[in-house]
Amino acid sequence: MKNKYELYEQEYEHSDKINIAVGLIEELEDTDVVVEQDPNKLKELIDMDLRENVPPQIFELISCVVEMIDKAERE
């Protein structure tokens, strides 16, 4: 069964994330730090931190393939 509060939860999540994004833009207003200024874009960019959500092994795979391609092309 569908959660009857789902719609409200989604609404809440949406407004919550937008608020965070707008807050971030306001907080940075008088500083030297610039971020994406469109709140609808910005809200999508702050959850993913590559340093925390992607394990080093994924980057190791990328590193290995780059090494392989680099060596083969230089050959």
Binding site: D32, V33, E36, D38, L45, M48, P56
Partner: protein
């Protein structure tokens, strides 16, 4: 994307929007119908506002309808807010290469020259008169200035011989001058062996002396780097830049050592705890925590930036081994304990040893940052350090340097109270600043859009058990910039990607080898590699390098099984025929 779908037609299957041959009443209603279908398929309500955003995206973006509809579908799948701007960014990231040169057009020495005062221009004139180019002369001037800032004592030592033999100087002073000179010479000899490990007992300041000597050799390179962003004030400044950097580096080195010791101690005691009282449920949790700690050292601390490669690989291997141990816990606990003991031993034996060459690299960055902090340069100049082949951290740093993690990092900085808010030095940050000045807006727009598009495509899929990632990375091969596209498709456990079950697609166009695709398929830690290329000798040419890479992966916890070489042309034909049969694109 064209190359991608040619090389890996399966990548496109889920995204393909089949546009049948049914005659639409009007082009628009047909388009509307397709949009609605995509929204329905993804369980999203197509509101009037969203329709307006989608329509604006469709009309303002170049390309065929099919690819634009695919972009809408990808965005919906990623749960990205449907706005015109977001769709444009995703579309750019999927279909275009990341162009960097075009994005930074204003960085020319000529513009800098125009901002210089008459006196400074007069200083440059003699250099230009002897045949030096404007660029060359400006760089020489900046190099001279940097030398003064960093080595004020050099000025004294470089004073012509007569100053040493001036009659007013007492005998004692002459001796002390000579005595002072001797150790300097010894130090400069030391610099030659630039890759020696430091003993922990070494005084940090002595280490820094060496680093500064090495830095003096590379000031030409630094000058070239900062020449286009120099502020005329640099020429007049009397700031104690050297002192500032020395202080900062001393603090950084001490902090990094402390960080490493803290993690090492924590890991050791947690592993000791589970070896001494093995309770399966608690063990799993503790092991996950230790794995997180190891990953954290590699990805988030400065440790890999100061130490040798072996340290990073030991940490990575330990993380991989513990992942295995965690799986053995239920069925073969003895095996798990054996691995845990080995890892404990390995981690406790890591001796934190900073490498001179690496500290030197950090010092160079700190110098640039200091010049920026003191407003002596306009922005932190961006340079792609294309050394991704070196290590996972190098890959991460390349992506961070591009700015693909920019907003997440700023948001984290803001959440840390009391921490000084400093703009992360990355290309996106620079471009966002450039964008504030109207004339740069257009040039930076495509690159910014591409970067944001990658970030949107990397959005954390919170509600899903899988995660997709997209990276467009310019890499330097044979002194030429090539564009590498990497699509990652992985399972996810909690909010962390499961590397043991992931698929990575690489696409690149190479001068010698031609279009090349690499598929790395990891199943339960077992790696299968498929290389797609039309070059007849490729297998022979590439096999030794693939073997090397697979060996490298085995060292850090992967098991490797299969390498396949396949031609590209087969798929190309298939795609062509399917285009004939199934697609008709109307606009």
């Amino acid at each position: 994307m064209k190359i991608l779908s040619k090389i890996f037609p399966e990548m496109k299957q889920t995204k393909q929007v089949v546009i049948d041959k049914k005659e639409p009443t009007t082009a628009y209603s047909y388009e509307d119908q397709k949009i609605k279908e995509i929204f329905d398929k993804n369980g999203e309500t197509l509101t009037a506002d969203k329709m307006e955003e989608v329509k604006a995206f469709l009309s303002e973006t170049e390309g065929d309808l099919e690819s634009k509809l695919a972009t809408i579908e990808t965005s919906l799948e990623k749960d990205v807010e449907i706005t015109k701007e977001n769709l444009k960014a995703v579309h750019t990231a999927i279909h275009k290469d990341l162009e960097i040169k075009e994005a930074l057009p204003e960085m020319s020495v000529k513009k800098v020259y125009n901002t210089l005062s008459k006196e400074m221009k007069a200083e440059l004139k003699p250099l230009i008169d002897v045949g030096m180019s404007l660029e060359g002369a400006t760089k020489v001037m900046i190099q001279g200035k940097l030398t003064e800032l960093l080595f004020p004592e050099k000025e004294v030592l470089d004073i012509p011989v007569e100053s040493k033999s001036e009659p007013t100087v007492s005998e004692g002073s002459i001796e002390s001058l000579v005595a002072e000179e001797e150790p300097k010479e010894v130090k400069s000899e030391k610099v030659v062996e630039s890759n020696i490990y430091f003993e922990e007992t070494d005084d940090q300041l002595e280490v820094l002396e060496d680093i500064f000597e090495a830095l003096s050799d590379s000031l030409e390179e630094v000058a070239e780097w900062i020449a286009p962003v120099i502020e005329p004030e640099l020429i007049d400044t009397k700031l104690p830049v050297r002192k500032l950097i020395e202080t900062e580096m001393t603090v950084k080195m001490a902090e990094t050592k402390k960080t490493f010791d803290m993690y090492q101690k924590g890991i050791d005691s947690q592993l000791k705890q589970i070896i001494e009282s093995p309770k399966p449920i608690a063990m799993k949790e503790v092991l996950s925590q230790v794995i997180d700690k190891l990953d954290h050292i590699i990805m988030k601390t400065d440790v890999p930036l100061y130490t040798d490669m072996k340290t990073e690989r030991d940490l990575l291997a330990s993380s991989g081994e513990l992942e295995k141990a965690r799986e053995f816990l239920d069925k073969e606990p003895e095996k798990a304990i054996k691995i845990i003991k080995e890892v404990k031993e390995r981690v406790s034996q890591i001796n934190y040893r900073p490498v001179k060459q690496k500290i030197y690299g950090v010092t160079k960055d700190v110098l640039i940052e200091k010049l920026y902090d003191e407003q002596l340069i306009k922005s932190i100049p961006f340079k792609i350090e294309s050394n991704m082949q070196v290590s996972p951290r190098a890959v991460l740093e390349t992506l961070r340097g591009m700015g693909i993690n920019h907003e997440a990092e700023v948001s984290e900085l803001l959440s840390k109270e009391g921490k000084e808010l400093k703009a992360p030095a990355n290309m996106k940050a620079i471009l966002l600043k450039l964008e504030e000045t109207a004339d740069q807006r257009i040039q930076a727009k495509d690159t910014l859009e591409n970067l944001s598009g990658q970030q949107l495509m990397n959005k954390l899929e919170i509600k899903s058990h899988k995660q997709k990632l997209l990276f467009n990375v310019p890499i330097n091969i044979n002194n030429d910039v090539k564009h590498l596209k990497v699509h990652v498709n992985a399972k996810k456990d909690n909010q962390k990607i499961d590397w043991k079950n992931s698929r990575l697609y690489f696409v690149i166009h190479l001068d010698k080898l031609g279009d090349t695709g690499v598929l790395v398929d990891v199943n339960n830690g077992q790696v299968n590699v498929t290389i797609k290329n039309d070059n007849e000798n490729l297998e022979q040419q590439m096999k030794p390098f693939v073997d090397e890479s697979l060996k490298r992966l085995e060292e850090v916890g992967f098991t490797t099984s299969n390498i396949k070489f396949e031609p590209l042309h087969k798929e190309e034909k298939e795609i062509k025929s399917s285009v004939k049969e199934g697609f008709e694109v109307r606009l």
